[in-house]
């Protein structure tokens, strides 16, 4: 019997090979916004997210993938953000999340 689906599905398991990914833009992002490295991945940003409440947009997921060099689709995802700034107020590490959104968009798309 298939297990009950409670609706809390997580991403499919997959391997990210950081050695093979091109980390240049990721490094640039972390260089300009070093505080992003202090992220503990608690997900508070995503829990309060205005856009995340209406769509599948998941800020924690996107910026984590970008840091690992997984840029595919990240720009389009980041463009769902409304920049309302709630994430910044709840971040326990005081990360300038709005700055992170703008920086990732700038590095990955607005060229």
């Amino acid at each position: 019997m298939a297990s009950i689906n409670f609706g809390y599905t997580i991403s499919k398991p997959r391997a990210i090979d950081v050695d093979r990914n091109n980390l240049r833009r990721s490094d640039e992002i972390l260089h300009e916004m070093p505080e992003l490295q202090t992220c503990i991945g608690c997900g508070s940003c995503t829990a309060v997210c205005t856009a995340g409440n209406l769509t599948e947009f998941n800020f924690r997921r996107v910026h984590t993938l970008v840091r690992r060099g997984e840029y595919q689709g990240a720009y389009e995802e980041m463009n769902k953000c409304m920049l309302c700034g709630k994430c910044r107020l709840v971040c326990p590490r005081g990360i300038n999340t709005r700055g992170v959104v703008m920086l990732i968009k700038h590095k990955l798309g607005d060229l």
Binding site: M82, L83, L89, N96, R98, M102
Partner: protein
Amino acid sequence: MKFYAPFCLPFIIGATTMFAIVLGKWLVWLLRLPRADKMLILRGLPSRATFGAIGEVFCESLLHRRIFRVNPVLGYMHMSLAFGWFLLISVGWIETVAHLGFRYVPLQGHVFFKYFATSLEHKPFFDFAMDLLLLFVLSGVALAWGKRLRSKALGMRRTTKHVLGDRIALSALWFIFPARLLAESATCALYGGGGFLTGTLGEWMHDRIGMLALMNLESAAWWFYSSCLGLFFVALPFSRYMHIFTEIPLIFLRRYRLRSGEKATSYDRFQLEACSRCGICIDPCQLQSVLGVDNVQSVYFLRDRRYKMLRPEIADNCLMCGRCATKCPVGIDLNTLRLNSRDRLRNLPDKRRYAYLKETDRSQGSGKVGYFAGCMTLLTPRILQAMEQVFTAAGEQVWWADRDGGVCCGRPLKLSGETDAARKMMRYNTELFRKHGITTLVTSCPICLKVFREDYALEGIEVLHHSEYILRLLRTGRLRLSHGDTRYTYHDPCELGRGSGIYDQPRAVIEAMGQLLEPAETRENALCCGSSVANTAISDGQQAAIARSVAAELEATGAETIVTACPLCKKAIARGATKEVHDLAEIVAAHIRR
């Protein structure tokens, strides 16, 4: 009578160059204005606005009344230079007419009249008047020198750091009037005449300096005076002194109702170059006073933009609290210019963006009154609950626009420069409000309030901040509050106070419940909480530092409770405060009399 001497050349070349460049600039800026703006000018020219503008040019460009209001000593300095110089020119012209009648005299004949008029009989009245005016201007120059040495003596903590072109023009300007004094005195020493200043100095020189040396000195002094003028005039269009000739058309255009908007236009040029870089905007900036950031203030922002060296770090690092704009003696619309710079740097039209906005209506209830909590109120549920209690007590049927999640008002995105994308959210919310047929829209977030009033097309829907709405309930007797003896202090949110002009309503509501104590900086001068959504550059620690300084000032009033009327200010100040911080709605809900 001949009105030419070789020393006039630097002045003639300088003045001709300056007028050519200034006229060229005016013409290009005017021609590049959008069509609608040109129509406004044509319609405004034959109206009363023109007379108003002439009066304002006199009061501001010459007398500098607005600087007087900020700082009298600084006002005197600017007035003595501008009005004094203007009087020197106009009284000098009258003097020429008094001597020679109405006949054509070339420009250098007016400017160097003392040099050419040695053979004419003396008119002691003009000698005295011109010396008095020269003294008036020289007193301003002395203050300007003093200000460079010790800015604090003139009531400015910080004074502007200048670019090279400014330094050249500034140095030339500083020497123009001392040079004039020296040149006129030397002429008086040789030919007699002159008033209490040039005459006395001339006699003194006559007694001590030999004839030959004096003649050499006279020639050198007039050359120096003319060279200073020439150098100043050539540098003027490329330096801060372009403001002299830009503020005048700016005043006219502003009276004809031209405005800057979220997209840059040619009108912005008039505002950019009207900045005199006086530096009055530096002291009110909390990024400067609390954090010591000293390269982002409006004066530097305008300078960088004017010389096309604006970097995003500078454009982004501003709270847009508007404290500098209330002090700006030229009345430049600093926040809007900052905004359309960001638009230029960052706006990318993307048709696919926010396609998900369709089918996201999660509104609840129905009624003629709509309540839009806004993102920040959703993050501070106590305010939302308080508003619910207020609505219930007043017996109001409410349509809840976003209690279970909604679309952001669009102002944070607009402030970051993505103005086209922000329009999509604005359109979505407008349609939502229309669909549910509300006639009144209440919000407890001043950020939303400002964008609703300024950017949304909400004809037929009255937009109210909750402080206005609650006061209306009190005045019409639909809500009754109990009065206690708690002492409150009130923090003016930037977007509510300076942004929307709402100062009295929240105060009236607080006074219905207790005693209100005003902090040192209040109303138009109120401090910013530091967490403004307009700033994406400062760090969390820097935001907290500003919050602590604001909280300290509010607590210094001795009040037991700090009240504000913005969910973002509440959260920001609470981080730095030792006393309780509440939104107005929470206090009201706790005082409802049933």
